[in-house]
């Protein structure tokens, strides 16, 4: 990887450079694999790259880094992803 010698804010790719951002999550995406039709819209739209595409085009969610934005649930055409609150209200 090429590094630049300029005094400005350049950061280089590294997994979890900001720590485990999954701890920021308030709503958690829950995937119902039985409903999934492998269209991969969630994988395309996830802004954080936390939808993991498997070899057979099924998907999993990396909860270490998923911030719970809900875009995947929103773009899912078959409503296979639902957003659930992380901690229930008392």
């Amino acid at each position: 990887m090429k590094k630049y010698n300029v005094a400005t804010t350049i950061s280089y790719p590294k997994k979890g450079a900001m720590g485990k951002t999954g701890s920021w999550r308030i709503f958690k995406p829950i995937l119902d694999k039985a409903k999934c039709v492998k269209c991969l819209r969630c994988w395309i739209y996830c802004p954080e790259g936390t939808v993991i595409r498997n070899k057979d085009d099924t998907v999993d969610i990396d909860y270490d880094y998923c911030k719970g934005c809900g875009i995947c649930a929103n773009v899912c055409k078959v409503k296979a992803i639902t957003m659930e609150r992380e901690a229930k209200k008392k």
């Binding site: 990887m1 090429k2 630049y4 010698n5 300029v6 005094a7 400005t8 804010t9 350049i10 950061s11 280089y12 790719p13 900001m18």
Partner: protein, 385 residues
């Protein structure tokens, strides 16, 4: 070399195109309009081969400059007054990102009180953005400074954006002859731009990420160091330009008849040019007055001004007002002398709202100062207050 007789804006357009930027985002505003129109004419003639982007605002124009520059190409744009103010956030952004964007700003009054005439409050209010600021006093100087600006901004010891300021209408819309070198000479002088960092899909990086306090402070200090480097480079570039192209407009300041002067007048932009006539007349009358036209306001030439302050008393004309304080140049001149010189410094506010400042008025300003019949900071020839 050819002689081009044209307006400041068309001559700036010629210079910009000869520097071969890859991207020129443009949003028109009076009195800058004919600058971007001039570049559009070169698109039509085929002389400008870069991307000309008609953006929807000045904020977008600066964003497009930043985006293109971050992708590793040379960029240029122009604006004026309210357009410059709308860019304000992105001016800081370009400087902190260390992107060598070059821009002309045609100094125009800020509204309300809608007014399109010359006044330097627009660019003075951007002085803390990290941009290098030049103030020009002739169309020839505009041409030469635009080319020199790319050389300066892209120097790896600088990497700061450069703003070339010149007065609305007095320069932007007035035709004067300017010597234009051949394209090959400009190409030899201004080598192809090699970015010091860039956004590249083959070498992915994140730019502008979160940064902790200690690291941020280092970035600011590096900008300050780079600006100090620019202070050394500006006179060197001006000297090299003189050797190559035979023209010289001064380094950080342009001195005129300062030898033996007991009073030195400091001014910027078109008033700086007009002052030469006043100095000639005062000298004819036996008054020992010289002129130091401040060409670079950022970085501020405090060492050179201190030298002047050790030689003479100083008279400062500001075509701007920092409301609640005084003229910006006046403040900075005094700060440069503080504790090191006993020179008297007289400040005048003149020509706000585009009010004409002829050499006759400049002579009166100098004579009043020499006679000591002035307040510390005076609004010259203010009507009806």
């Amino acid at each position: 070399m050819t002689i081009m007789i044209d307006t400041g804006n068309y001559i700036a357009a010629k210079a910009a195109v000869m520097a071969r930027p890859a991207v020129v985002p443009a949003y028109p505003i009076t009195p800058q309009t004919t600058l971007v129109e001039g570049i559009a004419n070169y698109v039509k003639s085929g002389e400008f081969k870069g991307e000309y982007i008609c953006v929807e605002s000045e904020h977008s124009a600066m964003c497009a400059c930043i985006g293109a520059s971050a992708a590793g190409v040379r960029t240029f744009t122009g604006t004026s007054s309210h357009g410059l103010l709308l860019m304000h956030e992105m001016l800081h952004w370009a400087a902190l990102a260390r992107l060598p964007v070059v821009m002309c700003n045609i100094n125009r009054v800020i509204g309300p009180g809608w007014n399109i005439w010359p006044d330097e409050n627009d660019s003075i209010s951007q002085r803390d953005t990290g941009w290098i600021q030049f103030y020009c006093s002739s169309n020839q100087e505009i041409f030469d400074t635009v080319i020199q600006a790319f050389k300066l901004a892209e120097n790896e010891k600088v990497l700061l954006p450069v703003m070339i300021n010149y007065n609305a209408f007095i320069l932007s819309h007035t035709s004067m002859p300017a010597e234009i070198p051949e394209q090959k000479e400009i190409d030899d002088y201004l080598q192809k731009y090699k970015p010091k960092w860039k956004l590249d899909v083959n070498n992915p990086i994140t730019f502008g990420n979160i940064i902790l306090p200690a690291a941020y402070e280092k970035i600011r200090k590096d900008m300050q160091n780079s600006s100090e480097n620019a202070k050394k480079l500006i006179p060197e570039i001006a000297k090299e330009w003189k050797e190559k192209f035979g023209r010289y407009h001064g380094g950080l300041i342009e001195k005129y008849r300062c030898d033996g002067a007991e009073y030195i007048l400091l001014a910027m932009g078109a008033i700086g040019a007009e002052s030469k006539v006043a100095i000639d007349n005062l000298r004819k009358n036996g008054l020992k007055v010289g002129l130091a036209r401040v060409r670079a306001f950022r970085p501020f030439p405090k060492e050179e001004i201190l030298k002047l302050g050790k030689q003479a008393d100083l008279i400062v004309i500001d075509r701007n007002i920092s409301v609640g304080s005084e003229g910006a140049l006046f403040s900075e001149v005094k700060a440069a002398l503080y504790g090191k010189s006993d020179a008297k410094v007289y400040g005048f506010i003149a020509g706000l709202g585009g009010k004409d400042v002829p050499y006759t008025d400049i002579e009166i300003i100098c004579k009043k100062s020499i006679n000591g019949r002035v307040k510390e900071c005076e609004w010259y020839n203010l009507e009806g207050v």
